[in-house]
Symmetry: D2
């Protein structure tokens, strides 16, 4: 049942799905249960409170849906908007592109603000659009917090500031798929109306859960929204919350217990420590990239992502070859370049359950792979740069002090 | 992390989610993998062939979607139909009711044929509706193969015969959630256009997969269907099939390997033997019910289900008490009565990974519970009736002969 | 990798190895760890305290050894005795027989008190031997608490009383392999000098741990004991206890975490509730045996075992056929008759992680098997007798009240 | 239940217990089984054949014992020798020391040939002892193939050559605990009489199995050997082999299935490829040590171990600090110096289920730790040296070509 066995552990550095902690695998190693027994509501009630804690929202209403990030997108859109509603949305990479495709499929009036891939959302254009929109024809602003294909993080606090500046009533819908639980995410502070993520990213679970929080304003909007929806309909969930049953259809028992375990690990480490760890690993990765003489796809410091780094390769090298070779020779799984940056970047995911030596093993593997494909890298250079930084900044593991 | 621990094994007899074989739990006990590596397509290609094998279709196109049965319903509808399309649909219990609710939410013109709960779909009315529909305004006929809330199985061969008799072009959409892999299902022979199931039923996996097959006619219909859809859109899948990547978004690695293991067990036992086992366990259950002096909710022999038996309790007894008590005292999980039959029936699921002694343990537990709630059952009577039949009919386990 | 697959769950009713709780399987599902890190001593310290708790000893010293019950026997003997030392030992079944064989192999002077199989230790003979032994040539009395082959439990309080009566200094060495954690065991109260068990019995773990407690007197004896020993030598352990490292060689990380989980379940249920559950399941089994018109191998009420029931079959029936047939047809694993009672008894283990409906499923299976082999059993009779008793005596599950 | 949680994966580089492949964890994730059913003998028969395959013996008889390496030592000694028998045995490190301690405890006449720790067995002295022993008073020569505490490998072919040269009849008993399945081991070719290993080393399982093979000469010797033994007695096993039951007491079902999975992985990779991988990883490690300006504890090239490297630290540094710090800060588990080399060496285990990037992550961690404790290492230097070599020598993963 293992189609492509290689000795030793697979080094999983795609920016999702990410490595699952043993604690989570253990929690999920169980038979099915009757989802209508009193056990599951008890479990779920606590999970809802913890979802709000990691999204940093007091006012939000959580939804844990048996779907993927793509489904969570759809849930955010169809519950808050009606067909033909105008959306301002930013195209900055493959995942914002796919979300926009979905917005079109679902028949919204999509007003796309495009940036060069490697740049963040163009907020000046947002300003001007809002400024021009006294009639509040813009019903929602859709932003991908962290664009996984280019390693670009958008500044949500700034987006909120602009919306507030123009006292605009548009909903703020945020894809936090590769950010929430990796980067600090402040739903209430940033006035996010719908925030969403999925289980196989920084939560470090298997695929299978789309997790959203809706602000009171978003919930209010959902009463008027006319988009057709059934599976993703929030009302069905809300009815179940009132009934104390929580799920309008059968949830995955295993993923619920897995989520419990994942949250327990987060809180044991401390949310802020989790974010600090992501920043540290990302800084180390960027130092390695610099040492190799390569460029970060994120064009400015303000956009660099602490969850994933997209590395630009020289024109004569096919980044796809790097990804293939890493997997075939070093049991290293890197993210490939997608769409506009296919062949041009490869990606190192440094989110989720990961530590310093895992990353350094990956960087060593990237170096060897670069050499394999003919790039004149000095072996050890990236590792040296990264470990020089890490050695000065890694804290002791609190439980072991 | 176990909110309601009781000694010994939970006896899981809800009609889904069902018991997961150890072989499947083992197969799923694994870290995430890069879903873009060559391993997953290899795995998926074989899974697709096996989905077709268990659906008994040569012509169908399989879709394995990270969702539940409710999502599979939506996928079947929105991919083949357009808003306002007329659907003839049968209301015979809670799950057909929920599907009809969904059909309404998705804005179809729902022509409901209602039966008393405990009866099958009224096919005479279907005949008359088709007969009256020379204009072919009926775009689809929606049938739940096995209504899980009442333990009623509909005769799909007859439905096909009627459609053929009137040479009607309506699509035949079938909910096989609690039937496929438990009851013999013959997609091609019965001319089913969309058949669907979900992983936590007879497939004996955790929740998380909606599995469909679409006939060529359904695929053709999907090109014209105007229902808004994105997450559930077949076209996105078909593009991926052509590209050899199979998934338009991240699948659950664990469930894919689990499905592999589940199919392996099915084929080792032999599909026809699996069906025969379900029939045998169902017969035994019905004999026990009779011995207890209770009635099957399914009113006629032709409708009785080999996947689940809904047992009608006398008017002075609340079936909800039986379900609660069984769980609180005997660690036995029975299905409760839903909606119209709430308080009136309890349900014994006998589908999925189960054998004779598991069922007899359950029946002994039901007897004690019946006595607990004041029903004058003769302890041992149901077990005697069931085991009398089973002892004469159980085959030797082939691998142990 | 499953050589003899059968559908549904294996019904494991041999008197060890027994069913493992999912909680324990989960706890054991983990990678290896450095056994010299500070984590393992922390874990072990707590486990030692809990071993003492379940053995009911304050004064005893625990040893958790990577071996089986057979190894635990050897550890008890070679650490406390010297070659040629006289041992009074009781032969009442296969496991006392095997222990005596070992005592001979290890060169002790074995003074065997034999009873008919089905009877307990002959304590009158013990009295007379002690009475005749003013010189205290008897260095140890060896008793199997619960003889697993015949389902006979010896009265250890009585043994202690007799030893005290004669103020005899002989050590009391007790095999508690199939009793400890199933039957009430009171090491200190009964003045047991070495008590031992193994992990795959009532502890409900995989095989791999021999667990002993030694009284201060036994520890003192170990200083003078001249039997050759190395792997099983207590001194090596005691040195490690002082050093805080606990293990003189590499322990099984997985079994230690499994033991942690097993103890947690015991204490959650409550030790006395665990014993009461065993008594209840045993009573139910005995009622079923009676209803079938068969005899308990234990000849008197005072000896019947709450851990395992050996059932005597009529002379014309081969009990081996029952065991084979149960496994081949019903996926039911019963214990076969061993040595003197081979072909004459089959055994139902009702110890460890088990509940009422599991047992009733087993009893139903035994009935069908009895009929298969030609015994004129009334199907349902044993289940009726057992469930009649259980229905009146089962408590509600405390966590679910 | 995790006493010392740290984020990310533990980097386990002690020379045993080693990392367990997921495939093995999966295979072990199962309930107990009746060990007397026909399934276990089928499984065991195949395992015995595979034990012989990896020991490279056609004539040997395998024993799979529920114990550790220490128990396997005892089994080798007590089954082949009698008290007071003269043994020539080599003291070259902590594990040979412990084996010698055991030989003394078991009352053999131990003739110790001591070398400085860091050197191999002094075979010249062996020659002279054999040469002086016309009377063949030497009954056995005991050699540790790979001394885990110093990273020194002895040349067994040479030992055999010397024994043959003197036509000496002494048995050759070999501790292959940290060598078998990591280093090429040729039981028949080298005329080894008893070879042994344990499960938590290169086999990459949990602790719990001692695995031995005995030559026909060793089996013959076991008939006459007078050492007291019971649990470890081969005769009990041999009787079971004849009876087709294989085990004289309850084995661990889980470890047997785990061993099956472990062997499957070995044979899929290819035994010779496994050895080549170990050599490659060891070479890389030695290059790193050299680059750091540190010394290998193994004093000559001929002795260096491909399973573990003991690294000598400068006198002013306490190697214990390195081990503690690596664990507390980098979640890296290194082996500490034992006994004579305590504080002087730390050890990098590179045996078992491991690959190149895992090792490079470890080497990066060692570098940072060295800097932490004040050793003037150039960060990246060891990784550069190792990866320079690895990049030129790693083969493509065959299943992925």
């Amino acid at each position: 049942m293992d189609y492509v066995y290689g000795p030793g552990r697979n080094h999983l550095f795609v920016p999702g799905p990410v490595n699952i902690p043993e604690q989570v695998l253990r929690a999920m190693n169980r038979n099915n249960e009757d989802h209508r027994s009193p056990a599951l509501p008890l479990l779920t009630k606590a999970l809802h409170a913890d979802v709000k804690r990691v999204f940093k929202t007091a006012a939000g209403t959580p939804f844990i849906i048996p779907t993927t990030g793509t489904g969570a997108w759809e849930s955010a859109l169809t519950n808050t908007l009606s067909p033909k509603d105008r959306i301002v949305t930013f195209l900055i990479g493959q995942f914002s592109f796919l979300w926009i495709e979905q917005q079109r499929q679902l028949d919204f009036n999509v007003d796309v603000v495009e940036s060069e891939w490697g740049q963040g959302a163009d907020l000046d254009i947002l300003s001007s659009k809002l400024s021009d929109d006294d009639a509040h024809t813009i019903k929602a602003v859709c932003v991908v917090h962290n664009e996984t294909s280019t390693g670009v993080t958008n500044n949500l606090a700034k987006v909120r500031k602009i919306l507030d500046h123009y006292r605009h009533t548009a909903l703020l819908l945020v894809d936090g798929v590769s950010s929430i639980c990796a980067l600090d995410f402040r739903m209430d502070e940033w006035g996010v109306d719908v925030a969403l993520t999925s289980s196989q990213k920084a939560l470090s679970l298997p695929t299978g859960l789309g997790i959203l929080c809706a602000s009171p304003k978003a919930l209010e909007a959902s009463k008027a929204a006319k988009s057709a929806r059934a599976f993703f309909d929030w009302q069905a969930y809300l009815k179940c919350y009132q009934a104390g049953s929580y799920y309008p259809y059968t949830p995955s028992i295993q993923l619920m217990y897995g989520l419990r375990a994942a949250f327990d690990l987060f809180f044991e480490e401390g949310l802020e420590n989790v974010f600090a760890r992501h920043t540290r690993l990302a800084n180390a990765t960027r130092l390695a990239v610099e040492a190799w003489g390569l460029k970060n796809c994120a064009q400015k410091e303000e956009w660099v992502s602490d969850a994933v780094t997209a590395v630009v390769v020289p024109p004569h090298i096919d980044s796809g070859e790097i990804v293939k070779r890493a997997w075939k020779r070093y049991n290293l799984s890197l993210g490939k370049g997608l769409n506009k940056v296919a062949g041009k970047v490869f990606r190192i995911g440094h989110l989720g359950h990961m530590n310093d030596l895992q990353l350094l093993g990956c960087l060593a593997g990237v170096e060897m792979t670069l050499k394999d494909v003919g790039y004149p890298v000095k072996l050890g250079s990236g590792v040296a740069a990264a470990s020089g930084y890490l050695q000065e900044t890694i804290p002791l593991i609190p439980s072991r002090v």
